[in-house]
Symmetry: C2
Subunit: 330 residues, 2 copies
């Protein structure tokens, strides 16, 4: 019997339930985790049957309905309390799964996780961050759209959680944290950034000051902190630019030109796997709705890695320490 | 005698005075405008001597000092009232030049222009916008960093001025105007964007709603409106990405590979020429500090074009009309 059981939202994502089920089968074959597929039982069983999965450690937990990208998450969860994402994180809360994975609505995953598992002290909402730029693959940008209109203290929490993740995930001893802004000098930026600046300075983080847009590519910081409005615009802008550049080069040089193929992956990181929600009291991996089966299996593996290393406890401690220092200084 | 006299800030930009002087010589040779070079007389004359410019319609107006990128513009202008940019726009105010061109500190150009020439009714500061994305060369992004922490009514003024410029400059009959946001549905976004949304709807502009980051590349709007914080991050991010992509492809494919060369120009538009300040009562063209002589000559030509077509009067009227409609509706 595998050490961990991971709940996979079988109804979340653009190609559900086929792709989540296929991803779960890959993960179960890899070993190390049992998978509980959460979704419409008949549909999930029908997909499972296509894969000859009968000998694998896969079970099915029934749910009713799904929260789509277009729905306001909190409202949708109230009207569909048995939606797949709610049941999946509910299994984690009940101790029947160790972690959850979903490629469904990120907003719904965050809302359901916060509700079921609770947040780290000092947070009002979970946050999402990670590297998404192929040309800066080791730079975490945080927040990517989970939080807009952030208070300066929220930005500080993004910095602390991002640094914690970089240390945890990539083993960087003292990740450099910067604030995305419109000038590199101290005191340049929006009111929000200017107010956050002094909090960062007294947080104990390895704060390198403001980071301008182009400095993301110059390796000035390991963690680049921004309001989720800016982060989400940058994330989608980069996806759009990569796609457009790939099309443009293909039309000029031919689709089989290696440069045309390289550039689409260059600007945007491959859409591989998901990332953990930062700030919830449990391991929840959220990914892109367009994710393929391999990405879902990679997300299950990431969940195991996070459980093995106590990601949640580490990040909670790091956040508490940064907030306490900033408060003591302020 | 040429119809127009254009004041060129000979001390502004990274390569002043050599490059502004060379640009002025090119412009004067092209005809259509006399150029007044504003700067340190001895230094400017020395540069002019290198170009055998004695027969050309070029004069020199003396100034004292220059405002650098690093200085706070308003403060610097108070302590250096005879700085080159102040003298250049002062010539416009005094009717001794028809327009001004500067590749110096954009902040200083805006502050000096607002001070000397005044702003359109309804504006608190000038704004800067334009296309900067090689893959979306006909999309104006506005504001690019002149204004941060914008009120919703400022965003509306950007939309009106951007649309006016697109109609004026590219002859688009009814340019589509969108608000950069984190979701395409109405009502998604930051507080700022949500409040601006209803103003746009009643402005009489051809408002197409929210534009997400990737939709910039899908031609959803001719004018994409954003706070200058976001616009400036995007502008610099794009410059950094283009440079990094060019380096990466060159290292993989060889520097002489056409794709490696193409991509640097693809992501960022060529740094050619400057753009007009929007919202000041006069034609002032501001450009990148790294601009070469050809860009400076192109900026002089743009100034002539703007004067020929009454850019300032057109834009002032379009702004007044959009603000009046939004106010009447609100």
């Amino acid at each position: 019997m595998p050490e961990y059981t991971i709940a996979v939202d079988a109804m979340g994502g653009d190609f559900a339930p086929a792709v989540p089920v296929e991803g779960a089968v890959i993960a179960a074959r890899e070993g190390g985790a049992a998978v509980t597929l959460v979704g419409d039982e008949a549909a999930v069983e029908a997909e499972l049957a296509k894969h000859g999965a009968s000998g694998l450690p896969i079970s099915v937990a029934p749910s009713e309905g799904v929260v789509s990208e277009a729905e306001p998450p909190a409202l949708a969860l109230r009207s569909k309390p048995r939606a797949s994402i709610a049941v999946a994180v509910g299994l984690v809360r009940a101790g029947r799964a160790h972690a959850a994975v979903s490629m469904g609505s990120t907003g719904a995953t965050m809302a359901a996780s916060a509700l079921a598992l609770g947040l780290f002290p000092g947070l009002e909402r979970p946050t999402l961050g990670g590297p998404f730029i192929g040309l800066a693959p080791e730079t975490t940008i945080i927040d990517l759209g989970a939080n807009v209109d952030c208070k300066p203290s929220q930005l500080l929490s993004f910095g602390a959680l991002g640094a914690s993740f970089e240390r945890f995930y990539r083993g960087k001893e003292s990740p450099r944290v910067g604030l995305l802004s419109v000038g590199s000098e101290d005191g340049k930026g929006s009111r929000q950034v200017k107010e956050a600046f002094s909090l960062f300075r007294s947080s104990g983080l390895n704060f390198v000051g403001n980071v301008e847009g182009h400095e993301i590519f110059e390796g000035k910081a390991d963690v680049v902190v921004c309001d989720g409005f800016v982060g989400n615009v940058l994330l989608k802008y980069t996806e759009g630019l990569a796609a457009a550049a790939g099309r443009h080069l293909a039309s000029r040089l031919g689709a089989d030109n290696p440069a045309a193929q390289a550039i689409a992956g260059l600007a945007a990181a491959a859409e591989g796997g998901g990332g953990p929600l930062f700030g919830v009291n449990g391991v929840v991996i959220a990914g892109h709705g367009r994710s393929g089966a391999a990405s879902i299996a990679a997300s299950v593996a990431l969940a195991r890695f996070a459980l093995d290393r106590n990601l949640v406890e580490t990040m909670r401690g790091d956040l508490a320490s940064a907030l306490a220092r900033a408060e003591a200084a302020g």
